[in-house]
């Protein structure tokens, strides 16, 4: 009984100390973080896609 109480007493503060981690995923700048050569390839592809889909862009 005493053990249970002790455990409960230990567990409560441990629970209270569980760190809250806020993960914020910024939707910004995925493009800016690309490698330069990947970006060049992507930009070329984007230009052709825009001209090939005049009804979408």
């Amino acid at each position: 009984m005493l053990g249970v109480l002790l455990l409960a007493g230990l567990a409560a503060p441990l629970g209270a100390c569980t760190p809250t981690i806020k993960v914020e995923v910024a939707p910004i700048n995925i493009y800016a973080k690309l490698d330069a050569d990947v970006r060049v390839r992507l930009d070329k592809e984007v230009q052709s896609v825009i001209s090939q889909n005049p009804n979408l862009f």
């Binding site: 939707p27 493009y31 992507l42 930009d43 825009i50």
Partner: protein
């Protein structure tokens, strides 16, 4: 009790049909020659852009400058955005980037083309009149 079982069977059959029908409907949308439809959607979106109702967003999709629009404009925007998402996915696959990155790259190119007076919204920013 028998009724319950029968009802369940019917419900099960309906569910099975719904399951079959949903992908079929999806296929129909894909296989429909969307060109003519898209042309009218594009015209509606262009008109809405000229009125400052619709603008280009930093994610490469169209958005509503004041949050909403009439049903026809909303439908046109949804249609074009659906088509754009597909394009971003294929661009992403070809370029080895994520679809989001492809959308952002497309937005950069589109921002440059926006005529003066129309609206755009950079990622993390607010609607801006060019």
């Amino acid at each position: 009790m028998v009724d319950t079982v029968r009802t369940r069977k019917i419900a099960g059959t309906l569910a099975a049909f719904a399951f079959l029908a949903a992908p079929a409907a999806g296929l129909m949308i894909v296989s429909t020659p969307a060109l003519a439809q898209s042309a009218s959607a594009k015209a509606a979106v262009d008109a809405a852009k000229a009125q400052g109702i619709v603008g280009e967003q930093g994610d490469g999709l169209l958005g509503f400058v004041s949050g909403s629009a009439d049903a026809a404009t909303t439908a046109a925007v949804a249609e074009i955005n659906t088509g754009r998402r597909k394009v971003f996915a294929s661009t992403a696959a070809k370029s080895g980037v994520t679809p989001d990155a492809a959308g952002e790259a497309t937005a950069q190119a589109l921002f440059a083309k926006i005529p003066a007076g129309q609206y755009y919204k950079p990622l993390g920013g607010s609607w801006t009149r060019k």
